[in-house]
Symmetry: C4
C-alpha cells in the first residue's frame, strides 16, 4: 500500500491543527495597546505549541521518508497520533487563557505524553513492518530521546502541582531537545548511500 496519500492526509491535518490554534488569539474589541496585554500568555502558549506541532511534522516527515510501504495498522496508528495532535489547540488555548495555571499546565503535559506514546506506537509498527534490520529499525532502535522526553513530561506534571510555571519551563526544555531535527535517519541514509555507491 502506497504511503503517498497517508503523507498528504497527515500534512493536511497537521497544517490545519497548527493554523487553527491562532484562532484562540481572539481579536480585542478596543484599539488601545493595553488590549494586547492579556493576550501575551496566549501568544507564548501558541508559540510553544507551534514549535511542538512543527517538531512532530518534521519528525513525521523524516520517518515517512524512510518508509517504503504501509499497512492498515500503520494507518490507524497514524490517525491515533493525529487525534492527540488535534487536542493540542484545546490545551494550548486553556493554558494561555489561564496564565499557566496548575490544571491547564498538567493537562497540556498529559496531551504531550499521549502524543509521545502515539508516536512511539507508530514507530514500533513501522519497524515491525519493515524489519528490525531495515533502515528504520536501526535508526530508531533505541529511542533515547523519546524516553528522556517522557521522563521530563512526567516530572513536569508532578512539579506543576506545586509550581505550574516550572512545569511549563520543562515543556520548553523538551521542545529545545527536539528542536534539532531527527538526524538519525539522515545519518543512516547518508551512510547507506555511501555503502551503495562507494
Amino acid at each position: 500500500m502506497g504511503k503517498g496519500r497517508l503523507e498528504a492526509f497527515s500534512d493536511g491535518v497537521i497544517a490545519i491543527i497548527i493554523t487553527i490554534m491562532v484562532l484562540e488569539l481572539k481579536v480585542p474589541h478596543h484599539a488601545d495597546i493595553e488590549g494586547l496585554k492579556p493576550l501575551i500568555p496566549v501568544f507564548v502558549s501558541y508559540a510553544l505549541s507551534f514549535i511542538y506541532v512543527g517538531i512532530y511534522w518534521n519528525n513525521h516527515h523524516h520517518m515517512l521518508h524512510a518508509t517504503k510501504s504501509i499497512n492498515g495498522a500503520i494507518m490507524w496508528a497514524n490517525l491515533h497520533l493525529l487525534f492527540w495532535l488535534s487536542l493540542i489547540p484545546f490545551v494550548t488555548g486553556w493554558m494561555g487563557e489561564n496564565h499557566f495555571a496548575k490544571w491547564p499546565v498538567i493537562c497540556y503535559g498529559i496531551v504531550l505524553i499521549m502524543n509521545s506514546i502515539a508516536y512511539a506506537i507508530l514507530v514500533k509498527l513501522l519497524i515491525r513492518h519493515h524489519g528490525e534490520h531495515s533502515l528504520l529499525g536501526t535508526a530508531f532502535g533505541a529511542d533515547t530521546k523519546g524516553r528522556i522526553s517522557l521522563a521530563i513530561y512526567a516530572i513536569a506534571i508532578v512539579v506543576s502541582f506545586i509550581q505550574s510555571w516550572l512545569g511549563f519551563a520543562l515543556y520548553i526544555v523538551v521542545a529545545c531537545i527536539w528542536f534539532i531535527p531527527d538526524r538519525r535517519i539522515e545519518n543512516k541514509m547518508g551512510k547507506e548511500e555511501e555503502l551503495h555507491h562507494g
Copy 2:
C-alpha cells in the same frame, strides 16, 4: 479523467472535517479541573466521530486506490459523500453538548445513514465505470458489511426514541465492525498480482 486531484481534494475536505470538530471542545474560562467535567460527553462524541471520519477516509483511500479513472458522475457522487461527511461535526457537537439526548442521537444516526448511502452510490458508480468483472466490481460485489451497518443504524434510531444511550452504543458497535480496514480490495489485489506474476 485522472483521479489524482479528486483524491487530493477529498483528502483536503476530510482533513478539515476531522480537525474542525475539535473546535466544539470550547476552552473553559476557568482553570479548575471541574471545568473539564461538562466537556467529557463532548470529548467522547468527538472521539467517536474522529473514528468514523477516519474509517471513511481509510475506505475511500482503499477504494480509490483500486480505481483507474473517473468521470463527471463519480465526481458528483464524491462531492455528495463529502457533503454528508461535512455534517458530522454539527451532529457531533449537538450530541456531545446535550449529553446524548434523544433527538441529537437520532440526527447523528440519520447523518450516518446518509453517509452510508452516499458511499454506496459512489461505489456503485465506480463499479459501473470499471465493469462488474473489474477488481472493484468483484471486490465490492456483495456489500454485506454496508448492509449490516445500515440495519444497525436503523435499529439504533428506533431504539433511541426509548433509550438514547443504547442508540449511541450501537453506533460504537458499527464503528468497531468497520475499524478493521476494508481488506477486500487488498486481498483481491494480492491475488491478482499473484496471478500476474505467478
Copy 3:
C-alpha cells in the same frame, strides 16, 4: 511554470471554503427537535453554496486539466477567483440566517456575479497564454453557458428587490444549468485523441 502547485493550492483553498461554511450551522444549545427548525434555511442556503463551490471546483479541475503551463498573470487571476469564492461562506450565512431576505439574497447574487467574472478572466488569460487555436481556445471559444448565467444572476438581483424568494429560485436554476460538468473540454479532448490515434 508548472501548474501542479497552483492546482494544489486552489484545491486547498476551495476545500477549506466548502468546509468552513458548515460552521455557520451553529449547534443549538437545547436537545429538542424544535431547535433545528430555525436552522432549516441556513441548511438550504449551505446546500446550495456547497453545490456552487462544487461546480467551481469541478470546472476549475477540468480547465486546468487542459492547461499545459501558466504564468504570473494567470496565478493572480486564479487568486482573484479564490478571493470571491472565499466570500461565499459569508453571504451564505447571512442569507440563511435571515430567511432569504431581500438584501442578503441580492448580495449573494453580487458575489456570484463577481465569481463568474473572475472565472471568465481566468479563462481569457489561459486562452491568451495557450493560443486561440489550442484545445482550451476552441473548447471555451464562445462561453454561452457563462453569458446565460450572468444574465440570470442579473435578473435574479433585480427580481429580489420585489420578491427575494424568486431571486433565490433563479440561483437554483443557474446551479442546475452548471450541475452537469463542463463536457466541452472532455468532448474536445476525446476528438483530439481520436484524430491523434485514428
Copy 4:
C-alpha cells in the same frame, strides 16, 4: 532531502491562513443593508491581507521552484515564516474592526516586518545550501525589493503614530511593489535554459 512535502505543507498552511481570515467578517444578525456598513473596513483590511498572503505564496512558489533540495535548518526557517504569516489574520481582524486606528495599524506593520525578515532568513539559508553561484544565489543576490519594503514598513510604523491612515496607505504601496510576481527567478531560468539549449 526532498522539497515536495515542504511545498505541500506550506501550501496547506498558507491556504488555511488566507481562508480563515474571512471568518473575521462576522455575519450580521439583521438583514438590512445598513448592517454591512461597519464591515467595510474589515473587508478592506481583509482584501489587503489576502493580497499580501497571495504575494508570499507566489514568491514562495517561485523560490522553491528554483530549489533543488533542502535541509533541517531550511525546514525550520520555513516554519518560522509560516508562524509570522499565521499572525496576519489576527492583526487583519484587529485593524479592520477598529477602523485603522493607531495601534492596530502599527502592529500590522510589525507583523509585516517580521514576515519580511523571516522570508529573508529563508532566502539566505537556501542560497547558502545551494551555493552563491547557483541559480538562487545569483537571482536573489541583492534583495533590493526586500530592502525597500522593509524601509517603507518602518516609515509606515513611525507615520502611524501621527496619522494611521497614512501608514495603511504605505502598506498598500508595498503590496503594489510586490504585486508583480518575482521575475528574477523566471528571467534567470529562461537565460539558463537558453544557455543550455542554445
